[in-house]
Symmetry: C2
Subunit: 161 residues, 2 copies
C-alpha cells in the first residue's frame, strides 16, 4: 500500500430519514429525536459487545456525497470564510464525518440511534463510545463559533428539515 494513502473498509451503513444533503441537519444537537439505524456487517457483530452500556456513541463515516475539497469555505452557521479544518463541513481533503449520536438499543447487528444528522446510505467506518472522562473539556474556547448565538445556530443548523 502506498504510504501516503490509508485504506478503510466499510463496516456497515446508516439508515436515516435524510435523503437530501441540502435538507440534512448539520449536527446531532440540531435534530434531537430524529431516529435511524446503523446496520453493521455481520462479520463485525462480536465487536458490538457491551456497546449498549453507553448512552452516546461516535459514528465515523464517509461524506459519500461530497466530491470536492474547499480549503476555505463558509460554514453553514456563518456567512464568513474559514479554513476547512476550523469547521465541520463535509468538503474536506478526506471526507471523514463524525456524529455523536444517542444509542437507543442494540439488536444483533443493528444499532438503533437517535439525534441522527447523517444521510441515508452513508458508509460507516468506525464506532467509538462517548466516555465522559475522556471526551469532556470544561472551559474550552470555541473560536468563531462563539460569535454565533445559540438561537442563530439552532435556526441555521436545522436547515430545511
Amino acid at each position: 500500500m502506498n504510504e501516503n494513502k490509508i485504506v478503510f473498509k466499510v463496516i456497515g451503513h446508516i439508515q436515516s430519514p435524510h435523503i437530501d444533503p441540502k435538507q440534512t441537519p448539520i449536527q446531532p444537537v440540531f435534530c434531537k429525536g430524529i431516529k435511524g439505524k446503523a446496520i453493521i456487517e455481520k462479520q463485525y457483530i462480536d465487536g458490538l459487545n457491551d456497546l449498549e452500556g453507553f448512552s452516546h456513541i461516535y459514528l465515523f463515516y464517509s461524506f459519500h456525497e461530497s466530491n470536492k475539497t474547499n480549503l476555505i469555505l463558509k460554514p453553514y452557521l456563518e456567512d464568513k470564510l474559514h479554513g476547512v479544518f476550523a469547521t465541520r463541513a463535509p468538503h474536506r481533503p478526506n471526507k471523514l464525518g463524525m456524529s455523536l449520536v444517542r444509542l437507543i438499543k442494540v439488536e444483533g447487528n443493528i444499532l438503533f440511534i437517535g439525534d441522527v444528522d447523517i444521510l441515508n446510505n452513508t458508509p460507516l467506518l468506525d464506532i467509538k463510545p462517548f466516555i465522559k472522562r475522556f471526551d469532556t473539556r470544561q472551559n474550552a474556547r470555541s473560536g468563531w463559533q462563539e460569535d454565533v448565538t445559540d438561537d442563530e445556530a439552532s435556526l441555521r443548523g436545522k436547515r430545511d428539515y
Copy 2:
C-alpha cells in the same frame, strides 16, 4: 474505487515524545502537559485559517503500528473482555484513531499541541475543532467505564510514561 473501500490521503504527521506503543498514554486526559507538533503538508495550509481560535481540536489519524484486529479484547483500563467498538483500543477493523488535544498555537503549517497521546510519526488524516455546543453531552452514561474509578483509570491510563 471499490465501493467497499474508502481511501484517505495522509495530510501530515505527528511529532511526539512517544516512541514505544507500550509506553504511550492511552488518552490525552492521562498525559496533560505532554507536548508535540502536527506537521501539515503545505498544500493544505489554507485549511488551517482560524483554527487557532479553538482551544481544543480533534486529531484523526491511523494507528499505523497496529497490524491486527481483535473484535473482543481487554482494554487498557480493565481486565475484562469487551467488544472493540465499546472501547478506544487501536486493534479495530479500521485503524482510525482520535485524540482530543490542546491547541497551543499555529505557526504556518505547524500545530503546536498539548496533552499528546499519539505515537511519533503517526500519519494524520483530519483535524476538526472541538465545539462546545456540538460536542458536550450532559448526563451521558459511560457503560463499563463507570466501573473503573478515576484513580484506577489514571494509574493504568498513563501506562509507563
